[in-house]
């Protein structure tokens, strides 16, 4: 179910989405050629996509509130009227078939879509009651508060130390070398990497194994002390052991941070998240507590997806 994708994830995804007409994916599911009856039923299910989200989009003490968010890539309407609240100190998983817009939504939360020229975002997203798309807010300041970990581990081609120290350095978080050391060590410690790299902090971060690189990226993100950590399929390039370590780490980090994780693995969503949001064709179909989603989904599409009928 976990799909390996080439570098950078999103640029490829965009072309994929642009190439495929909306709806393509569901009319021709990847499993065997559907019998006519199944096909008709699936078409009916699509007609159920009314844009109304079932379940509970609201939560207690929301940190991020997205109201009627729409994203366009040029002509393509990638996200349609998504309203979602994300609570502090909690993990929320975004799931859904490929090209459903979950990564796009994730990248709206720290304005990573800004770097794509054709991308346009409407609606309102607030972090701590502050509109993150307002003109007064510098995306640099936002990204210091909302960190992101990507699908493919992407440490800088610098030493392990410099990788972690980069964020604090550019934001001026450390007054002197001792403070910087302190930040680097504690970040590596919290990312569960310190024991493995303590003696080789000056070696290049790119020399680590895939799982260690991803933990290094997490250390780099938490070194800035953000309020939210976004994770875009952080384990899809990792083996099961490294994945398990990252999942444990997510669990620990959720005590301090709001974590939004995009994943293709339902098991992972079930393991690490408290809430799950199911996206389909750019719409948010269902949001609820993880237990409810996996045991008693309200929407037919959600049920189809989590039972492996498509996706």
């Amino acid at each position: 179910m976990t799909e390996l994708k080439p570098i950078g994830g999103d640029p490829d995804k965009r072309t994929e989405m642009a190439a495929a007409k909306p709806g393509d994916r569901d009319e021709t599911p990847r499993t065997a050629v559907p019998k006519t009856a199944t096909r008709r039923r699936q078409l009916e299910e699509i007609s159920e996509l009314t844009g109304k989200t079932v379940g509970h989009v609201r939560c207690k003490e929301p940190l991020i509130v997205a109201e009627k968010v729409n994203v366009f890539y040029g002509e393509l309407h990638a996200i349609k009227d998504v309203t979602l609240e994300i609570a502090n100190r909690q993990v929320i998983a975004l799931i859904g078939p490929s090209g459903c817009g979950k990564s796009t939504f994730l990248r709206c939360l720290n304005r990573m879509n800004d770097s794509i020229e054709s991308a346009r975002v409407t609606g309102r997203i607030t972090l701590d009651d502050q509109d993150i798309y307002s003109r007064d807010l510098d995306p640099v300041a936002l990204r210091a508060r909302v960190g992101i970990v990507f699908q493919k581990p992407n440490p800088f081609p610098k030493s392990i130390y410099d990788n972690v120290a980069y964020g604090p350095r550019i934001h001026g978080l450390a007054a002197d070398r001792a403070e910087l050391d302190e930040i680097v060590y504690s970040s590596l410690e919290r990312a569960g990497l310190l024991k493995e790299v303590r003696d080789r902090l000056d070696e290049p971060g790119t020399g680590l194994s895939g799982g260690q690189q991803q933990r290094l990226c997490i250390a780099r993100t938490i070194a800035v002390n953000p309020e939210v950590i976004l994770m875009d399929e952080p384990c899809s390039a990792l083996d099961p052991i490294a994945t398990a370590r990252i999942e444990d780490l997510i669990d620990e980090l959720s005590e301090n941070y709001a974590i939004v994780i995009v994943t293709h693995s339902m098991q992972q969503a079930a393991r690490v998240s408290r809430r799950v949001a199911y996206f389909h064709l750019g719409m948010l179909v269902e949001v609820d507590d993880t237990d409810r989603i996996f045991t008693n989904p309200q929407h037919k599409l959600t049920e189809n997806y989590i039972t492996g009928r498509f996706g």
């Binding site: 950078g8 020229e117 992101i148 081609p157 800035v224």
Partner: protein, 431 residues
Amino acid sequence: MKARAAELSTRGTRKAVEAGLGRRHRKETLFHMFGLLATAVGIVFLGIFFFSLISKGASAFTQTFIELEIEFSEEVLAPGGEPDLQYADYDALVRDALWREFPAVTDRRERRELTRLVSAAAGYRLRDAIAENPDLLGARQRVSVPASADIDMLAKGNIDRNQAAAQRPLSDRQLHWIDSLAERGRLQTKFNAALFTNGDSREPELAGIQGALLGSFYMLIVTIALSFPLGVAAAIYLEEFAPKNRWADLIEVNINNLAAVPSIVFGLLGLAVFINWIGIPRSAPLVGGLVLALLTLPVIIIASRAAIKSVPPSIREAALGVGASRMQVVFHHVLPLALPGMLTGAIIGMSRALGETAPLLMIGMVAFIVDPPSGFTDPATALPVQIFLWADSPERAFAERTSAAIIVLLAFLLVMNLAAIIMRKRFARQW
């Protein structure tokens, strides 16, 4: 039924693949041979080129000298009792020494022929010798003076003795004198230092490439100082900051076109703008450098853009994700990773600039200039132009100097390319 069909079709696949294998192998072998052939042809021609160049040019690095017993007579050097070492008639000393060597020659015409055995610059040697050691005044000492170009050619075997006297540059008498000097062990072959310490000259035995080397050097400094920062800045702007619209496409097309514009056109532009309009003196390395900078700018921009493009987007995203501004992304991450590629582009551009001749002809760097330039606005020539000038000269001795200058130019290029490789290795980082 289904299983049967599947079996049939797999067997069909196997058959078809096996039938086609021979053809595929033949094609692969053929392609392999083509590649080998192409490489071999290239290497053979390179070999021929180097062989002819070195066999013709190597002799220019040595020079024939005649050792003469010079009497530094006070009569000549200090005619009024006061020695005038700067402007004394040193040529007279050389003449006297030669006449003493061959006392039998008394006829004025013959004596003049005799003095033509040594270079016109022989007197300067004596001046330098006495300047170094003032005690020589009034003494008698053996001094090596450069032989004339014709004698040099004879010694190097480039003049055929058996030709009719009217057709060779040396008379029978001169041949006889030279032979007797050789018998007495007065002919010497030494390293031709003048080739590297002199500027251009009408006399081949005095002509050197220092002026051209310095001219090329000053030009390249101007070129790299202008085109590298400008090219890199343009590439960064176009790749990282400029909006991708029709204007960007237009600029891209124009830059690519500019890289293909014949270099002489840049020379005309330099003549019109830098010399006629701005008023920089002609023949100056400054103008040459400016023109070559324009010439290499598109090459550097294209190479730098390619280098920037090859930096993986994941690195940019990582930096943006930590909260780096676009400037910080460029200067902390993109630039260090793209630097090796940019340097390679710059060196390729510089190599091209170093070998460029046509635009320099347009801005007057083709003039006959004896004094090596001592700055950016002194008149100068450049190495390739010097080669062009010497190749144009009828004297035999200039032919070997042409080859020698080409060897020096190639060595210069080799050094630059080596520097490029070393720098690339040094700055290359893995990701």
